[in-house]
């Protein structure tokens, strides 16, 4: 066999361009286009503009609850499952917290709510993984059952709480001081630059990989915001919760052993299992985290409205899943990015906000949202196809037709009765 020795540098090509492809980063471009379009239209109409600090932070606040759940929905989707019960679980968390806050006080009630969410997640996980029922069916069932539980707990009436702690858990803003933002930005850019230089020195390392790129861009953005206008960093509490959760999950998915394994579990469960990964455990944990996150969102929701309606958040599960799909998360597992799911949520709520600002009303809103979802799916699908063909064309190695065994061949061909 003739072996072309390749120089080490070419073994790992740069993947910067790959990162910026339409198929991979399309949702980010879409958000930028949407924001610019709304900004131009509002400015042209003599309004304050879409991109004012107060409006931007409002959009962030509006998308924070869905965004928080979308972070964990992405984890469930990556693991190769699906969870429709999140909105019911959130309502359960909120109701449990509000009901128990009187007798127990806020923090024990919060704990109880989170435990209820964990219980929902574990139940989903066990039913799906141990009994082997399809996740769609299981969570469709628990969607209804958990909502039923909420009705039982609240006696089908809305429950109120006047707890100051519950209120302050959600309300108010927190300003990231400009100097802090600048320091964080400088730190990240420095780290990115250090990686860039280290990459230059190490033969074979890609000159500008995704991490370096992310550090530089994100660091520069935060630093500039701190320098130029730190009003953009005056965010509501739920927004900070969402950003914190996203940061932790992004780091865990991309830079830890369990994160890598989770992608393997979703990408090819059998291969993961035969590589020694405990597939069931990973998937159950994903459901559990989702349940925990949903109940936490329920508590924030209760704080926002000082109580809980028994039918609160109904239908939100679809918004959460839509955000993840807009972000390019695969429904078949193994692929997805938390950051892009957040961008997906921002697009949904940015549209929502734009309609309000422009006074268009909600008449066309759903129609346009639907079109956007299908368009996004179309872009991902067709870009994916092109990429595969492109790859084939670029391929330099000769394809060796595998010598197939008789028996294997027939299995593949599928059996056929000729008549």
């Amino acid at each position: 066999m003739s072996t072309r020795r390749r120089s080490p540098t070419s073994l790992f090509g740069p993947d910067l361009l790959e990162t910026l492809r339409l198929q991979r980063a399309g949702v980010v471009y879409a958000l930028i286009l949407l924001a610019l379009a709304l900004e131009i239209i509002t400015k042209a109409r003599g309004q304050a503009g879409f991109l004012t600090p107060i409006n931007v932070t409002n959009v962030l606040d509006q998308s924070s609850l869905v965004g928080f759940m979308a972070v964990f929905m992405t984890v469930v989707l990556i693991s190769g499952n699906f969870d429709l019960s999140v909105a019911s679980t959130a309502a359960l968390g909120g109701s449990v917290c509000v009901k128990l806050i009187g007798p127990w006080g806020f923090y024990p009630a919060l704990l109880a709510a989170l435990l209820a969410g964990i219980a929902c997640g574990v139940t989903n996980g066990l039913l799906v993984q141990k009994l082997g029922i399809n996740a769609f069916i299981v969570t469709l069932g628990t969607l209804t059952a958990i909502r039923g539980l909420v009705l039982v707990i609240t006696d089908s009436r809305s429950v109120q709480s006047s707890s100051e702690t519950l209120f302050s858990f959600e309300a108010g803003r927190w300003q990231l001081p400009g100097w802090a933002a600048i320091s964080v930005g400088v730190l990240l850019v420095t780290a990115g630059a250090a990686r860039l230089l280290a990459g230059r020195r190490t033969p074979g390392a890609p000159p500008l990989d995704r991490l370096t790129c992310a550090l530089l861009v994100f660091g520069a953005a935060v630093g500039l915001l701190g320098l130029l206008n730190d009003d953009y960093l005056n965010l509501t509490r739920p927004t900070w919760y969402m950003l914190a959760a996203a940061a932790v999950v992004i780091l865990a998915l991309n830079f830890t052993v369990p994160g890598r394994r989770l992608f393997a579990v979703g990408g090819n469960a059998e291969a993961a299992r035969l590589s020694g990964i405990r597939v069931d455990l990973y998937r159950i944990v994903a459901f559990t985290l989702m349940g925990l996150a949903a109940s936490f969102v329920g508590v924030i929701y209760a704080g926002k409205f000082g109580g809980m309606n028994p039918d609160a958040l109904t239908g939100t599960e679809l918004t959460v899943i839509t955000a993840a799909i807009l972000g390019g998360t695969s429904l078949f597992g193994g692929a997805g990015a938390v950051s892009k799911s957040l961008v997906g949520a921002l697009i949904l709520y940015g549209l929502n906000n734009g309609f309000n600002v422009l006074n268009v009303g909600s008449t066309y809103q759903y129609l346009i949202q639907g079109v956007i979802i299908v368009a996004a799916a179309a872009i991902y699908t067709s870009a994916g196809r092109k990429r595969r063909y492109g790859w084939r064309r670029r391929r330099t190695d000769p394809v060796v037709e595998p010598a197939v065994e008789d028996e294997e061949e027939q299995v593949e061909e599928g059996a056929r009765i000729t008549a």
């Binding site: 060796v400 027939q410 009765i417």
Partner: protein, 503 residues
């Protein structure tokens, strides 16, 4: 080599003369085959993998066109281009394509042409008469999914009868069946022949062939090497005709002996599973390559999966270095077992992932800081090493593994385990779908693992390959170990006899 028909007054149903077939990629599958198929006979078709059996039956059933030679049906020359034209030829493959959610009745008459309206009453009557012809019956209204697997074959045979087939080709019909179902299928083949239908019976199991066929044709490298009445065949001649006189490049016995250490690496006791293995016991020593020779359906893959804990229903005691291994793949991996499964794409590789990510999957903690944060530098170094050591050919280590050819993909699978702690490699048909050149690379890879003092269990249906790669060979048949041989003291003929049940 013309052979007189059993019943001399019959004209042959099919008469094949000088049939040739060359595939576009240059593979010559048939080099001039002469066969006569008579009505009312069970005609055994034998040959090693790649001998041309598949091609021949595909030509007979219209799925492939021949390049040269003639085929006559009832003395009329035929030139079929599609399976549709090959009316009267029904092939029952190993995996029976039935619609599990339909009843027996509906499946039997599925897709029969020329019936706009379904007349259930008439179909019922017809099915009853088919039952009678076959001497076997079942409830016509049972769902196929409720039938035991062994009976699916029978439904496929009924389908053939319902289409008035004159020739029924049974392709390895008993490979996946239990003893009882097997007897039923064998009896059915005889019965079909008695009703005047010609039956071509393909099997690797020589005892079956000897038991039920009237005549046999053996193919090797696209030529007929033996054609005779079954009653007149000597077993050795049969084996000789299948295997030929291929010479092997076997590592010298002395080299084997120095490599194998006395220390037991893996021991298996009383391994059994409902998947079809019974009481498997064996040990493998450090530095030893143990072959498991078995034909399709012998339980060879099942044995590996049971050892690895991937078969949850299996029971038995597996020890690595004397320590009992828990019954799950994760416990097996921790204990130092590594599985190279038969179906790479489905069981071993994450298709969309980069090559390097696939390589490091089982051994990720070691390539991580504090065993928790994967280190790109360590991972890439590992990939670079594997690319170099194994001569993997790919545009880049960042390329998706799904784009690799079979041989290179298999090397990636080996790389997953070769640099880790794995002490015992379980190799399930590691050269399937691998081109000839890479095959040698992979066999050399197995030898080099053994030289490092690791053990391997090597499953293959290509016995020549086992003889070349292994120190010792166990022969599996119907889920049991039926023989043990040192590779240096046996040959392909003996293995074929043992695995085929003529031992």
């Amino acid at each position: 080599m013309a052979v007189a028909p059993l019943v001399s007054r019959d004209a042959p149903l099919f008469r094949l003369r000088g049939v040739t077939k060359t595939f576009p990629n240059g593979t010559v599958a048939l080099r001039g085959v002469d066969v006569d198929i008579y009505p009312g006979e069970v005609h055994g078709l034998l040959g090693a993998n790649g001998a041309g059996k598949s091609t021949l039956i595909k030509i007979l059933s219209g799925a492939l066109e021949r390049d040269g030679g003639t085929i006559e049906l009832h003395d009329v020359r035929i030139d079929w281009r599609t399976p549709k034209e090959a009316k009267g030829v029904a092939t029952v493959y190993q995996h029976t394509p039935l619609v599990p959610t339909l009843t027996v009745l509906e499946n039997v008459f599925l897709g029969r042409e020329g019936r706009a309206l379904v007349d259930r009453g008439r179909q019922r009557q017809e099915l009853e008469s088919l039952f009678e012809r076959l001497g076997w019956r079942t409830d016509p209204d049972t769902l196929v999914s409720d039938l035991p697997l062994g009976q699916h074959k029978m439904i496929a045979v009924l389908q053939a009868l319902a289409r008035d087939a004159e020739l029924v080709i049974l392709d390895e019909p008993t490979a996946a069946l239990a003893e009882e179902a097997r007897a039923l299928v064998l009896e059915t083949a005889r019965r079909l022949a008695q009703t005047g239908i010609a039956v071509i019976y393909i099997s690797h199991l020589l005892d079956e062939i000897v038991a039920i066929t009237d005549r046999v044709t053996v193919l090797r490298d696209g030529r007929v090497t033996l054609q005779a009445r079954t009653s007149e065949i000597d077993h050795d001649a049969l084996v000789q005709a299948i295997a030929g006189e291929r010479l092997l490049a076997v590592e010298s016995a002395a080299a084997h002996a120095t490599r194998v250490a006395p220390k037991v690496a893996l021991s298996v006791e009383g391994l059994r599973s409902p998947s079809g293995i019974e009481n498997i016991d064996f040990v493998v020593h450090e530095g030893e390559v143990l072959g498991l020779a078995g034909l399709l359906g012998s339980g060879r893959s099942e044995t590996l999966h049971a050892i690895f804990g991937a078969d949850r229903a299996a029971s038995g005691l597996v020890r690595v270095d004397g320590q009992v291994v828990g019954r799950s793949p994760s416990a097996a991996v921790r204990a130092g077992l590594a599985l190279v499964p038969e179906d790479r794409a489905r069981q071993s590789l994450v298709g969309g992932w980069e090559i390097w990510k696939n390589m490091t999957l089982p051994d990720l903690p070691r390539l991580s800081r504090w065993r928790f944060f994967p280190s790109p530098a360590l991972e890439q170094a590992r990939a670079r090493r594997a690319f170099h050591d194994m001569a993997i050919r790919a545009p880049s280590a960042n390329a998706p593994v799904s784009a690799l050819s079979g041989g290179n993909a298999q090397k990636v699978v080996f790389a997953k385990w070769a640099y880790g702690d794995a002490k015992v490699f379980l190799l399930d048909e590691p050269t399937v779908g691998v081109d000839v050149g890479t095959k040698a690379d992979i066999l050399a890879l197995v030898q080099s693992l053994a030289r490092e003092g690791r053990a391997a269990v090597f499953v293959s249906s290509e016995f020549e390959e086992l003889l070349a790669a292994c120190d010792r060979i166990l022969v599996l048949r119907r889920g049991r170990i039926v023989a043990e041989r040192l590779a240096a003291e046996t040959d392909e003929h003996e293995l074929i006899r043992l695995a085929g049940g003529l031992g």
